[in-house]
Symmetry: C2
Subunit: 206 residues, 2 copies
DNA sequence: GTCTATAACTCGATAGAC
DNA sequence: GTCTATCGAGTTATAGAC
């Protein structure tokens, strides 16, 4: 029987460290500007190894998106509670997820979606229909209004992400979570359950 | 005397058409992905001509940013009126400018700022301090709160731009201006003049 | 003033040695 | 499993012919 001495060929941990580096670099630069070479350098690994493990750059991106956070599980939990505070809970949830290490994947997807058509489609289909629709549905909002309210919530959440994580405008960039929750939550609340002039025009006209 | 027949060497109008194409392509793709070749192709002109007229790509970008719209003139005009409707007027102003042909430069700057550090700095310095500070100053808002309120307004305006012009999420992408003004204006209003818990923490603590 | 040709650089992806 | 070498396609920018 063969006894392998010393460190094994590094198989399982290099693949994992490539994934971590990919999440980090994708989050910092977005899909397009994140080069395989840079990701490999970050992981102190040969660029060819990245291709060997993950094939194409797109497949690497998809692999790095497999986050331990499941919207189907975390959204209903956040929406449960007094409906009049759902806005604040949604902002708190988003900031909590995105500020966590596991949230790098979400930031990467968002940042990439801003400059790449392929990831933009990925995000539209995933976030807007999966996350926001789920959130408004959880609150029992009229189907005819759901799309409009979800899109309006998206404007506030996306803007928060842009200012805090992409443009890094102070004082929002480094404000504590609860301060932003108190400031922005009520505005999200209005989009969720408030009176919105013109929101009915899409659906029933009675 | 020399009589030139037919079309003159195209001097003055080619330079102008390059500028127009630059604004358009920069707005569509952002600074990085907008190639000199694509801009030249759009203007039906040789790529080398672009360099001949404008030097580098950065100088071309700066030249294309010289919009006929002057914030110093248009902001005070929009802020004049009942203070309790300033939010709606601000949203109406932004949508009016950005939907207009002359607004392509603004969209270009914004889109570029999302993926390029150089243009991001340009935008932080110009928009946040020039436009938003001017707007909140026009309303006579406390200096200590101005930065926070301006940044919060930025989250909503930037988010509106992202959803409407970059990600193109319906129904916001193709909603009429006044519907968005009615839906989003009040939220901007709250950031401008409303009660914001925690907004005082930066400044005076009395 | 206009355009061809090309330098000098990036990138993703692959072939093949070890 | 790992790495060297390289291909082919992008890019900005420049030099120089006409």
């Amino acid at each position: 029987m063969v006894r392998r001495s010393g460190r094994r060929p590094g198989n399982q941990d290099t693949k994992q460290s490539i994934l971590e580096s990919a999440r980090k670099v994708f989050a910092e630069r977005g899909f397009d500007k994140a080069s395989i070479r840079a990701i490999a350098g970050e992981a102190q690994v040969d660029p060819a190894l990245v291709h060997h493990y993950f094939g194409t750059k797109e497949k690497l991106f998809l692999a790095s998106m497999n986050s331990p956070i499941d919207p189907a599980e975390v959204i209903p939990k956040a929406m449960a509670g007094p409906p009049e505070e759902a806005g604040e809970r949604l902002v708190r949830l988003v900031l909590g997820v995105w500020d966590s290490p596991a949230g790098a994947a979400a930031v990467a997807l968002f940042r990439s979606a801003l400059s790449n058509e392929w990831t933009a489609r990925l995000m539209r289909e995933f976030v807007v229909t999966q996350v926001l629709r789920r959130a408004v549905a959880e609150l029992g909002i009229d189907e005819a209004q759901a799309a409009t309210r979800a899109a309006l919530v998206a404007t506030q959440i996306a803007g928060l992400a842009v200012v805090r994580y992409v443009l890094r405008v102070e004082p929002v960039a480094s404000a504590p979570t609860e301060q932003l929750v108190a400031a922005i939550g009520p505005n999200v609340q209005r989009y969720l359950t408030g009176d919105l002039p013109g929101v009915f025009e899409t659906g029933d006209g009675h």
